[in-house]
C-alpha cells in the first residue's frame, strides 16, 4: 500500500458525508429507474396494460448505494478492503440467484468495475493482475468443456492462457514491490509506449498478418463459420479504414458513413438487377456513385464545423435510409432487393453447380469437386483484396500533399488556410474517397448477401464503424484492426450472457474509453524524416515523444 493510503487508513472515516453521497447517488438512480424500469407495458388480450416492478427498482437503487459507498471507501484509502469485498461480491452474485437476470448482470458488473477501481488505487500491477485474472476466468475453456473443439474455443483458451501468464507475472510484481496508484497520465504514458511498440512491430507483424489472412481459408481450423466471421471482420476493417480517412486523418466527425455503404450496396443491386450487368462492371460504378453522393453531401456540409457537421452527417445517413424505404417503386421499399447476382470468377466462371449464364462452372474449370465453400472463399479473398487496397491507399496518401493537408486540417484548419490550402477541396476529397471505399464495401455486402434492405443500413452501423475508428486510436491503421477484433469480437465472446451481451459490450467500451480516451493505439509516426533524405541533415537526437523533455533538459543545463 502507498504512503497516502496508509496515513489515510489511520484516520477515522467520515461516515456521514460518505453516507450522504451514497444516498444521493441511490436517489438519482431511483429517479432514473422508476420510469425506465419501474413501469412496463404489457400486451394483454384486452389491450395494452401496465405492470410494475418496483422490487427491481429498489434493488437497483440499493446496488447503486453499495457501489457508491465502495467508491467512497476507495477514495478514503480503504482500497484493499473494498477490493476484497467486491471480488467476494462478484463471486457470490455469480452463483446466488437474483430475482431477475438483469439485476445479476448489474451486480456482477458493478462489483467488477469497483474491484478494478480499487485495485488501480492500490497500484498498477494489482489492477493489471486482477483484470488478467478476470479475462482468464471468463474466457477459459472451463465454461464449455462439453462442446467439440472449435477455432473459437482454441482462440479463447489461448487468450485465457496468456491472461493467466500476465496475471502471475504482474501479480509477483505487485507482491514484491509496492508501486504507486496509477494516474491517468501514467496509464496514458504506458499505453503510448505500447502504441509505439505496436507501430514498430506492425512493420513486420503487418506482412505476417496479411500472410496469415491469405492462407487462412486453407488451414485445417477454417470452416464455413470461421471464414464467414473472417469476411465479417474484414468488411468492418475495410469500413474502418475507409472512415479513418475522414475521421482519423481529416478530423471530420462523420456520423453517417453508413449512407455511402448503402449507396454502394443499392447502386450495385439496382444496376445488376435492372441492367443485368456483372459484378466487375458494377463495382467501380458503385464506387463512383458513392463518391458522387459524398461530394453532393460535402458541398453544403463542409462549411459546418465540429458538432454541427456531425449532426448533419447523422441526418444525411438517416435521409438516405428513409429514401430507400419510401421510394418503393425503385428500391423495393422495406422489402429490399433480392436475387442480387453473385460475383463470377472475374467474369470467367460461375460458382454454381450448373451455371445458367453461359459461363463454365468454377469447379469444372479447375477440375475440382463441387463445393459451396468455393464461393465463400472467393468472397473472402475479394474483401481481403478490397480492404488491402484501402489500406495501401491510406498508407501512401499520408505521404502525399493531399494526405498531409488532411492531417494539417485536423490539427488546425485556420493555419491551413493561411498557407494557401483550399480547405473545401481537401475536405471534399477526403469525403469523396472515403465514400468511394464505403461504396465498394457496400457492393461487396450486396453481392455477398444476395439480398439487401434498408434495415442493414441503420445508424447503429455508422456508430459501430465510428467506434472502431475511435477505439483504435484515430488515424491508426493497426488500431482499426485491433479495434475491429474488440468491437466485433467482444459481442461474440460474450455470447454466454445472451441478451445482456450488448450491456457488457457497452460497459466494455465505456471502460476502455475511460481508461484510454485517445483510443488504444493512438500514436503517429512522421510521414517523412529528414534523415531519409540525403544531404546535410544531422541525425535527430531522439524520438518525437522524448523530444520535448530532451530539449527542455538541454536548455536547463
Amino acid at each position: 500500500m502507498t504512503a497516502i493510503s496508509e496515513s489515510a487508513a489511520g484516520r477515522a472515516l467520515p461516515w456521514p458525508s460518505m453516507l450522504r453521497e451514497s444516498g444521493l447517488a441511490a436517489f438519482v438512480a431511483l429517479l432514473l429507474t422508476v420510469p425506465l424500469v419501474g413501469f412496463r407495458t404489457v400486451d394483454r388480450p384486452t389491450g395494452l396494460g401496465i405492470s410494475t416492478r418496483f422490487d427491481e427498482v429498489l434493488a437497483a437503487a440499493a446496488l447503486v448505494f453499495i457501489g457508491r459507498l465502495g467508491l467512497c471507501l476507495v477514495n478514503e484509502g480503504r482500497a484493499l478492503l473494498v477490493m476484497v469485498l467486491s471480488i467476494l461480491a462478484l463471486a457470490v452474485s455469480a452463483f446466488v440467484g437474483f430475482p431477475t437476470e438483469a439485476l445479476k448482470v448489474i451486480a456482477m458488473g458493478g462489483a467488477f468495475v469497483i474491484s478494478l477501481r480499487a485495485a488501480m488505487k492500490i497500484n498498477g500491477d494489482a489492477a493489471i493482475t486482477l483484470a488478467a485474472v478476470y479475462v482468464a476466468l471468463f474466457l477459459g475453456p472451463w465454461l464449455q468443456l462439453g462442446g467439440g473443439v472449435t477455432l473459437w474455443l482454441v482462440a479463447k483458451s489461448v487468450i485465457a492462457a496468456a491472461a493467466l501468464a500476465v496475471a502471475v507475472w504482474r501479480g509477483l510484481h505487485a507482491w514484491r514491490k509496492h508501486g504507486a496508484p496509477v494516474s491517468l497520465a501514467d496509464r496514458d504514458k504506458a499505453m503510448d509506449r505500447i502504441a509505439v511498440k505496436v507501430q514498430q512491430a506492425s512493420r513486420f507483424l503487418g506482412p505476417v498478418g496479411i500472410a496469415f489472412a491469405l492462407i487462412f481459408p486453407f488451414l485445417p481450423i477454417a470452416d464455413r463459420v470461421s471464414i464467414d466471421i473472417g469476411i465479417l471482420l474484414l468488411t468492418y476493417i475495410m469500413l474502418g479504414w475507409g472512415l479513418n480517412i475522414v475521421v482519423g486523418l481529416a478530423g471530420l466527425l462523420d456520423l453517417g458513413y453508413v449512407a455511402f455503404y448503402a449507396v454502394g450496396a443499392y447502386s450495385y443491386a439496382l444496376l445488376a438487377t435492372y441492367f443485368g450487368w456483372g459484378f466487375w462492371i458494377c463495382l467501380p460504378l458503385a464506387g463512383v456513385l458513392a463518391a458522387l453522393s459524398g461530394v453532393l453531401l460535402g458541398f453544403p456540409v463542409l462549411r459546418l464545423r465540429g458538432d454541427y457537421f456531425a449532426i448533419v452527417t447523422l441526418g444525411f445517413g438517416e435521409i438516405i435510409r428513409v429514401i430507400l424505404i419510401n421510394w418503393y417503386q425503385f428500391t423495393g421499399g422495406p422489402n429490399g432487393i433480392s436475387g442480387i447476382p453473385r460475383p463470377s470468377f472475374f467474369g470467367l466462371a460461375e460458382f454454381n453447380r450448373n451455371p445458367t449464364g453461359g459461363l463454365p462452372s468454377f469447379h469444372e474449370m479447375f477440375g475440382l469437386e463441387f463445393s459451396s465453400l468455393h464461393r465463400i472463399i472467393f468472397l473472402y479473398y475479394l474483401i481481403l483484396a478490397l480492404a488491402l487496397v484501402v489500406n495501401l491507399f491510406t498508407l501512401r496518401v499520408r505521404k502525399l500533399p493531399m494526405g498531409r493537408a488532411w492531417e494539417a486540417l485536423r490539427e488546425d484548419d485556420i493555419a491551413c488556410s493561411s498557407l494557401g490550402i483550399n480547405r473545401t477541396n481537401m475536405k471534399l476529397g477526403a469525403f469523396a474517397i472515403a465514400a468511394m471505399f464505403g461504396g465498394f464495401a457496400g457492393s461487396f455486402f450486396a453481392t455477398r448477401q444476395g439480398f439487401i434492405s434498408p434495415e442493414s443500413f441503420t445508424f447503429i452501423e455508422s456508430a459501430i464503424i465510428l467506434a472502431i475508428v475511435v477505439l483504435g486510436g484515430m488515424g491508426s491503421q493497426v488500431g482499426v484492426v485491433v479495434a475491429t477484433f474488440i468491437v466485433i469480437g467482444l459481442p461474440e465472446m460474450f455470447r454466454e450472457l445472451e441478451q445482456y451481451r450488448m450491456v457488457a459490450f457497452g460497459m466494455g467500451m465505456v471502460l476502455i474509453m475511460l481508461w484510454r480516451p485517445r483510443g488504444l493505439l493512438a500514436h503517429r509516426d512522421p510521414t517523412i524524416r529528414l534523415q531519409g533524405y540525403g544531404g546535410g541533415g544531422t541525425p535527430a537526437a531522439g524520438t518525437a515523444a522524448a523530444g520535448g523533455e530532451a530539449i527542455a533538459g538541454g536548455r536547463a543545463k
Binding site: A405, E411, A415, I528, L530, Y533, G536, G547, G548
Partner: protein, 297 residues
Amino acid sequence: MTDAIMTTAALPLPNATTPLLAVEHLTMRFGGLVAVNDVSFAAANRQITAVIGPNGAGKTTLFNCLTGFYSPTIGRLTLRHPDGKTFLLEQMPGYRISQKASVARTFQNIRLFGGMSVLENLMVAQHNKLQNASGFTIAGLLGLPSYRKAEQQAVDLARYWLSRVRLLDYADWQAGNLPYGAQRRLEIARAMCTEPVLLCLDEPAAGLNPRESGELADLLTFIRDEHGIGVLLIEHDMSVVMSISDHVVVLDYGRKIADGTPHEVKNDPAVIRAYLGEEEDEELPPEVAKDLEGKGV
C-alpha cells in the same frame, strides 16, 4: 486594377521604393465596435514595416483583413508584386491570398500543426506546389519521378529554412513538443516556405527572452535583406521594433495616430500619450493606489 495602382501612387510613401502593399481607408466593424477605423498606409518591398499600438488597438484585426480571415467593412487592400502583378486582397477568399498573392502570416497565439513533425509542418506549407507536382495525387500515388523530384526540392527548401531558424536537429520531432521559442521560429520558417512576397508577423517576439528576441531581429533583417521581401511586423517589444524596422505605423483605438521612421514615431506626442495615457496616476483605481503606497512601492 489600374485605378488601384494610381491611388496607391498618390499616397505619401516612406521613401522612394515601390509600395508592395497599399492599405486605403480600411475600416472593420464588429457590430457597434469599430476595431479598425479608416486606416491608410503603405508598406514597401525590402522593408520592415512595424505596426504598433496598445492592446486592443486593432492590429490583429488589420492582419486578419489583410490575410482574408475577415472581409473589411470598407477599404481597399492592394498588393503589388515586384513583377507588376496586382491583387486586390479584400476581394480574394482566404486561401487564395497565400496561394496567388503570396502573402504569408504567423499568428499571435501560435498555430502550428502540433501533432505533426517539424519537417511535415514545412511540407504542408508547400502544399500547392507539391499538389500540382503530384498530379492531384495520382502521379504521387504511382510514385512518378516528377513528383519525387518536386518532393526532394521541397525538402531542400525546408532544410534551408530549418537551418536558418536553427531547428535542423529537431526536424523529425513533434512540433507540439518544441519549446515555445522554437515554436515561434518554426512558425516563421513555415510561413517562409510558402515563398511569400509579403510576410506578416503577429507578435513574433511575444514570450521570448532577450537573447531569443535578438536572434529574431537578426532573422527578420536577414529575410528582408537576403530574400528581398516586405515584412509587416506587429510587435510590443519596442527594442525589436525600434532596432530593425524601417517604417512604423501606430494604431490606437483602431485609428492611425502616427506613421514614420522609428525615430519620428518615438518622439511623436500622440504616440507617447497613447502608450502612457494622459493623466496616468488618475487612472489607477484608488484602492490599487493605496495598496501600492502601503507596500512602499
